[in-house]
């Protein structure tokens, strides 16, 4: 076997292990110098990106990759699953691609953004640990392993939110985030303990094959409720979303972009629970999760845009915009779930369900890129002017031309204007949700228009306007920040010009993986 086949076989473990190794080597290599350490971290993330894309090229052709920690091939011993298993299907590798793009952009951005800060060794170590946690969350096939990686991600991200400890509000936001994360994770552990006590299995595939409509009872419902409530709180769905604007708004800009990825990994957890773990029982009429997801998505959207209209803090406003975009994802996937969970409606006659799920899942990567670009622009404006409130800014576009163009691209993308990628996913969501109930599509379009209004407000008050003397000699953002923003902007334009290509390559395997839970548990009978 050549080297590529060996790498492909070991890649699920290597994708998690490489940033972990980098995280622990960073303080050592940091002694050699600033540039050496940054180049080392970029090499580590480039190697991880290569492994992710190698694995993606194989998973997208239909195979599900499993990796057993402990080495041997057979892990089912007298109806008990022994070792910890990583199982990579279409949705997992989709989230891993998002994670690696966001981490690369954040590290390239931090090269210049964090140049004058102290404690950079700890910053980069925690950043790589957070990346490890996110990869572990999306690639794992074991519920308790998911809990451990969830805790790793929330601890690392909380320490990074409080990175500027001289700002009082950052520490307060980090404390709130930590309390919420811990209580959420503890309730996840409680429901994992319930499921383990009843079924004697921790592996997601094994549990999914044991939760059947015959054995569905009070304990399963209780576990579903606790898991759903805790993970949707971590994913920032209203009305438990209130930690999100504080945490995103007070963190350094390069951390906000990875926090977007961490929030979406928790959203991945919700989808994994609803579609795969309880895959055999979603047809029971008592489990009516579809409409719950749709209503919660709508409430999130409306709260996001209404609160964003009155904010005057640049990053907090974009954080409320990110909150509104989360509602779109929930709306799209919830529409698909309503049709899937109704045994009387067939999927063939209601093909809008698959279209809605495609739109919802495509929106995950679009939102990560758009909102990520907007956060990077906010960070660049803060770096140049040291002002974070929109009331004190004005006329910056004269000096920071490239940043203005990037903000324009982000503005068009977030509100769903045609040449950008936000339009493609939002059109899919509008068209399919309209066929479920017209009012949902009307509220979604209204939220999109209000997002356009909000971003135009930011553009006018920060970038346009007369020449202000205080900002006479601010300079353009440094090159590494421009390169990071350029990567995201070029991906946005590419996804917007060829949406069909992206939907067929990236999103279709993810939707196929999520609507066919039997293929996830197929390895149990195959014996791999």
């Amino acid at each position: 076997m050549n080297i590529l086949d060996i790498l492909l076989q070991q890649s699920p473990a290597l994708i998690v292990a490489t940033p972990l190794l980098g995280a622990f080597l960073t303080p050592l290599i940091g002694k050699l110098g600033y540039n050496v350490r940054n180049i080392f971290i970029i090499i580590i993330l480039a190697v991880t990106a290569f492994l992710v894309f190698l694995l993606a090229s194989d998973v997208f052709s239909g195979n599900i990759h499993t990796y057993v920690f402990g080495g041997t091939t057979s892990t089912v011993l007298s109806n008990t699953v022994i070792r910890i298993l990583f199982e990579v299907d279409g949705l997992s590798i989709f989230m891993a691609i998002i994670t690696v793009i966001l981490s690369l952009a954040a590290v390239i951005y931090s090269w210049a953004f964090m140049r004058e800060e102290t404690g950079q060794d700890k910053y980069y170590t925690l950043l790589l640990l957070m990346t490890t946690g996110m990869f572990g969350m999306v690639l794992t096939g074991d519920l308790f392993n998911f809990f451990v990686f969830l805790e790793i991600t929330s601890i690392a991200s909380c320490a990074l939110i409080a990175f500027w400890t001289h700002k009082a509000k950052a520490v307060e936001a980090a404390f709130n985030y930590m309390v919420i994360s811990t209580i959420g994770a503890l309730f996840v552990l409680l429901s994992i303990a319930f499921l383990y006590g009843k079924y004697d299995a921790l592996n997601i595939a094994k549990l999914a094959s044991r939760i059947t409509p015959v054995s569905f009872s009070f304990i399963d419902k209780l576990s579903l409720i606790l898991l759903l409530a805790a993970l949707t709180m971590k994913a920032g769905i209203a009305p438990m979303h209130m930690w999100l604007p504080d945490a995103y708004g007070r963190a350094p800009a390069s951390i906000s972009i990875i926090l977007v990825g961490a929030t979406q990994a928790s959203l991945y957890g919700v989808f994994r629970i609803c579609f795969t773990l309880y895959g055999n029982v979603i047809q029971i009429p008592e489990v009516s999760l579809g409409w719950i997801m749709v209503i919660l998505g709508l409430i999130t959207m409306l709260i996001g845009v209404f609160m964003a209209m009155i904010q005057i803090d640049f990053k907090k406003l974009i954080a409320y915009g990110a909150l509104a975009e989360l509602g779109y994802m929930f709306l799209g996937v919830g529409t698909g779930l309503t049709i899937l969970s109704n045994p009387q409606l067939s999927l063939a006659s209601n093909s809008f369900a698959l279209q809605a799920m495609k739109g919802g899942i495509f929106h995950i990567i679009n939102d990560a890129l758009d909102v990520g670009l907007l956060f990077l622009v906010a960070g660049a404006v803060y770096y140049a002017t040291k002002e974070s409130s929109l009331n004190n800014l004005g006329g910056i576009a004269r000096n920071m031309k490239y940043t203005t163009v990037f903000f324009l691209i982000g503005l068009l993308a977030v509100s769903g204007i045609p040449p950008m990628n936000g339009f493609a996913s939002k059109l899919l969501i509008y068209e399919s949700v309209y066929q479920l109930n017209p009012i949902l599509a009307i509220i979604a379009i209204l939220a999109s228009i209000m997002l356009l209004a909000i971003m135009v407000k930011v553009f006018y008050s920060a970038f346009l306007g007369p020449k202000i003397d205080r900002f006479q000699d601010i300079r353009e953002a440094p090159k590494s920040m421009l390169i990071a923003m350029g990567i995201l902007a070029s991906l946005i334009i590419f996804f917007g010009l060829f949406p069909d290509l992206i939907v067929n390559t990236l999103v279709e395997p993810a939707v196929k993986a999520i609507t066919h839970p039997t293929s996830y548990i197929l390895w149990l009978t195959g014996g791999v």
Partner: protein, 124 residues
């Protein structure tokens, strides 16, 4: 008489589960209703202890000994997997507690008060 005694024996085995429920509800009530930051941290710690207790209680079998093979006195052993899960959870709880307490120290340095209603007026 014997019938009642057997019933009491069976009900005594449920006391750890009642304790778990009590601890989780008391912990949640502490986090929701107390204003002092350190009391909120203690509340989170109580919830964590309750969940760990639940994990250990799941693995107990009646009249069982510790699941260690060397120098074992014989007889059935309790399940070892929940004990491993509990150890991991306790370690995670220690890290979380340390991080939360260090954040409380920073908040005290900035605001000079531990009352959560008086926070929020700090500089940017």
């Amino acid at each position: 008489m014997l019938y009642l005694r057997r019933k009491v024996n069976k009900m005594i085995a449920n006391i750890p589960f009642l304790a778990v429920m009590a601890m989780i509800i008391i912990g949640l009530a502490t986090v929701v209703f107390k204003r002092n930051l350190i009391k909120m941290v203690i509340g989170v710690s109580i919830i964590e202890s309750g969940v760990n207790l639940f994990l250990i209680t799941l693995g107990y079998r009646e009249h069982s000994v510790a699941p260690i093979y060397t120098a074992s006195p014989g007889g059935i052993m309790s399940y070892p997997v929940p004990q491993a899960l509990t150890l991991t959870s306790i370690v995670i709880g220690v890290a979380v507690l340390a991080l939360m307490l260090s954040l409380v120290i920073y908040i005290y340095r900035h605001y000079k008060t531990l009352d959560i209603r008086k926070l929020g007026g700090g500089e940017e």
